[in-house]
């Protein structure tokens, strides 16, 4: 890794699953040394769900783990054992950031709560990511992805009005917990430059998402309207939707009059410009079904690729509904060299999504995810000065 923005920042990542690990991955991507601390012999829970090459389970080959832990070092340590917690407190002395996502109270019962750790190292930034935060009536409630979608207001607004509300695209709530944790950690590191002091960051996934749906809150607080499900349509104009085409689906988003007039002309029906059914946004919403009956046959004769380019060139916002196969062959992502090909000793060479943003002076960097305990010797012997015999002893006691 080259010298870059977070060089010299040492992160202890004791989190599991998605939220905390994504935070750690982002810190590693910009140069921090991230030491992932895993449970002896089993490791992070994300080593189990896969996806696996050829669908054959293997703890070193889970796609979820491989993606969320790029650029980290792995050591094993049992935190729920007095000796392990003692070793951890020793490592914390030289750490800048600690990322954890245990349910509230777990760190405390291991004697590793923020007040204890900040006594050991007042510069420590501790980033705690949980479903509902460290306080409040739900703080001990259980949550998985679909529960987060529900309690943050996303489930209610997605899907068909006549059907059950729909969850989003996979574990986005957990990803958001990690992304917000990353953002706040950087703020805390920036603040530490002035104060010399770390702090405790309480990231509630519910709160990350509760202001994350366009205008849903202001619609109510300004207009008294509760946003309802609207399928794929948009409530202030039409056509803004997803449509079938010859080989899949496309998004068409003609939300301004010039775009709509372009679209009417493009599909060979310029007379619609004068059609009283489509003159105003209210007219277009009221007659959305009638318009779609005219539009869809035209779309169905064309491929998503063809439609994307034609409509875009006509300045009508449009996009293919892309699946992973489309994305990986898409010339735009290729031209921008977005994809990262990462070689892993067990899982082979795999394509990962690349940087979320490009920084001219401090670019994103990527290296493969670690094997379980791969860096035990480097960290325990090389850095902490444990002898081979000490290490063997700890291993026997199930500490590492």
């Amino acid at each position: 890794m080259n010298d870059t923005v977070l060089s010299g920042i040492r992160v202890l990542d004791i989190s599991e699953g998605i939220s905390g690990p994504y935070c750690g991955k982002m810190l590693a991507s910009f140069g921090a040394e991230v030491i992932k601390i895993e449970k002896p012999s089993v490791g992070d829970v994300s080593r189990t769900p896969g996806p696996f090459p050829g669908d054959v389970p293997h703890p070193e080959k889970s796609g979820l783990f491989l993606y969320l832990n790029t650029g980290k070092k792995s050591i094993t340590l049992n935190l729920h054992n007095a000796k392990g917690a003692g070793i951890f407190r020793e490592i914390v002395r030289s750490a800048d950031v600690l990322v954890e996502n245990f349910p509230p109270g777990v760190m405390q019962s291991a004697g590793l709560d923020y007040s204890t750790l900040s006594d050991i190292n007042s510069r420590l930034v501790m980033t705690s990511i949980t479903a509902f935060g460290q306080t409040g009536p739900y703080h001990n409630y259980k949550a998985v992805t679909i529960i987060e979608y529900a309690l943050s207001g996303h489930q209610y607004i997605n899907g068909e009005p006549t059907r059950e509300p729909l969850q989003g695209a996979g574990p986005q709530p957990e990803y958001q917990g990690g992304l917000h944790g990353f953002m706040a950690t950087l703020m805390a590191l920036y603040s530490r430059e002035d104060t010399g002091l770390g702090q405790w960051l309480d990231v509630s996934i519910q709160e990350c998402l509760a202001g994350f749906h366009q205008f849903t809150i202001t619609r109510y607080t300004y207009g008294g309207l509760i946003k309802q499900r609207n399928g794929n349509r948009y409530e202030s104009d039409h056509p803004i939707s997803i449509y079938p085409c010859k080989d899949g689906y496309v998004a068409v988003s003609a939300s301004a009059r010039p775009q709509q007039e372009q679209l009417y002309t493009l599909i060979g029906m310029p007379e619609l410009i004068q059609d009283p059914r489509f003159l105003t946004p209210q007219d277009r919403i009221d007659n959305a079904d009638a318009f779609d009956e005219l539009l869809v046959p035209w779309l169905k004769q064309r491929t998503k690729e063809e439609l994307f380019h034609t409509l875009s060139e006509w300045r009508i916002p449009c996009a293919p509904v892309a699946d992973p196969r489309d994305l990986l062959s898409d010339p735009h992502f290729k031209a921008r060299e977005f994809w990262a090909q990462i070689e892993h000793p067990e899982a082979g060479s795999l394509t990962h999504p690349g940087p979320p943003f490009r920084m001219s002076e401090t670019p994103w960097q990527v290296a493969r995810a670690p094997l379980l305990g791969e860096h035990n010797e480097e960290i325990y012997s090389g850095r902490l000065g444990y002898s081979r015999e000490n290490l063997a002893g700890l291993r026997e006691q199930g500490v590492i």
Binding site: A184, T216, R336
Partner: protein
């Protein structure tokens, strides 16, 4: 040139000045998070400039006449200064200072350059040709201020074949791959009603600026950041991309189901459009779930005895679960199940979110009072920081509220010069009709 900044509380980004040229949502929300951390943000030109067009106001009237009043204004009423009254404008621009500046004319651009000289960060989310056409791209700005940090967050990024294509939140989440995995098992793809890629870009953009500020603090160097919203989106589909890379698999749409948990779904409750989500994983959770429902006879059927059995009989299981949930309120089901150790969550709508006991106790929503729109709640900063909490110094400004402070105080123009600029509509008391 005094101004009450209510600066008694120290904040993380005190002393950092940001020029906000961004529009609509992704950029404004990113910059709001910097402002909540104390940055002095100068909002140029009011992102919602399009509310000034006669067509837009006409549309609002039509919506009101149709009885579906367009809810972006207090009680649907745009008033005499709609640009100061729009809900999203007031939501996304708290803690910012407002000026208008016509960048379409040379003199406006010169004033912008003078602001760049005394600022730290520039944020914009136009399509790539706009800043270049203004002659205000990074290569120009860094000549004026080598330490400037500039971030652009267009839909497709600053290069590549789709660079100049029009792109909205309502097209980018489909292109980024989210829609392909969202939908009912028997339906086509769905988009989110939250246009998810916009706020994803926001949090990434704020993080990128924080990284650049840290780097500058150590080196004195500025830099340029290119954030393609579509790419920021794809980074949140890691396991889906890896599955394709490993197995060539294009994912199925699962609706509300899960790859191994069952029951796992969204169930109707008592009332009109009232729902709860429930997720049962382990056998232990299943037994707790059955106890909480009062162990109806069907729970003893052998086909539901283990996780695989439950997963294979989900259609039937979902009907049976719903026969129980429909007798109760959504919060009621949630509390009963959570007390038993089973994951459940009420499906909250906007009104319920504002009243949710958890969000309330943690003071998630903050209240702000403004002369333009009165006292209203807004989502606060999304993370709790123990030592450096966010600061809420001021509600969103009137679009021209800080004309004197910025042009007089920061740039040292005289009252006469400001009046002259106003006269010639280079600056003004309302945003110019959309220029980009």
């Amino acid at each position: 040139m005094t101004i009450d900044f209510n600066m008694t509380e120290k904040a993380v980004l005190d002393g950092v000045r940001v020029l906000d040229l961004s529009r609509v949502w992704s950029g404004p929300m990113a910059v709001r998070m910097l402002a909540d951390m104390g940055a002095e943000v100068i909002l140029i030109d009011a992102p919602q400039a399009r509310v000034t067009t006669p067509e837009y106001l006409q549309m609002v009237k039509q919506f009101r006449a149709a009885g579906r009043h367009y809810p972006y204004f207090p009680d649907g009423d745009p008033g005499d200064e709609p640009w100061n009254r729009q809900g999203s404008y007031n939501d996304f621009n708290r803690n910012k200072l407002g000026i208008t500046l016509n960048l379409a004319v040379e003199e406006g651009r010169e004033l912008f350059k003078r602001l760049v000289k005394v600022s730290d960060v520039v944020v914009e989310n136009f399509t790539p040709r706009v800043m270049k056409n203004f002659g205000l791209d990074y290569t120009v700005l860094k000549e004026i201020n080598p330490a400037i940090i500039m971030i652009s967050l267009p839909g497709y990024g600053m290069n590549g074949p789709y660079r100049d294509y029009p792109a909205y939140g309502t097209t980018l989440e489909q292109h980024a791959g989210f829609s392909s995995v969202m939908g009912y098992p028997d339906s086509g793809p769905y988009r989110t009603q939250s246009t998810y890629v916009d706020p994803v870009a926001s949090v990434n953009a704020t993080s990128a600026v924080m990284l650049a500020l840290l780097y500058r603090r150590h080196t004195g160097k500025g830099q340029y950041i290119d954030l393609a919203q579509v790419e920021a989106g794809v980074t949140l589909l890691g396991e889906v991309i890896l599955d394709y890379s490993m197995n060539g698999r294009v994912p199925q749409r699962l609706g509300n189901r899960h790859t191994f948990m069952a029951p796992h779904g969204c169930y109707r409750c008592r009332g009109d459009d009232v729902w709860v989500t429930i997720a049962v994983g382990t056998d232990e959770e299943w037994h707790a779930f059955c106890d909480a429902m009062g162990n109806p006879l069907w729970t003893e059927e052998t086909k539901f005895a283990d996780q695989l059995g439950r997963w294979h009989h989900q259609d039937e299981l979902d009907r049976l679960v719903q026969a129980w949930t429909v007798l109760h309120g959504h919060y009621e089901v949630m509390h009963i199940l959570q007390a038993a150790g089973v994951a459940a969550g009420a499906v909250l709508n906007a009104k319920e979110l504002l009243a949710d006991p958890q969000l309330k106790e943690r003071a998630y929503f903050i209240e702000q009072d403004s002369p333009s729109v009165g006292k209203r709640p807004y989502p606060g900063f999304p993370v709790k920081l123990s030592r450096t909490p966010p600061v809420y110094r001021r509600p969103a400004p009137r679009v021209d509220e800080h004309t004197d402070f910025v042009f007089g105080g920061l740039l040292g123009l005289t009252k006469e010069e400001i009046a002259d600029l106003m006269e010639r509509r280079i600056i003004g008391n309302r945003p110019p009709v959309t220029q980009a």
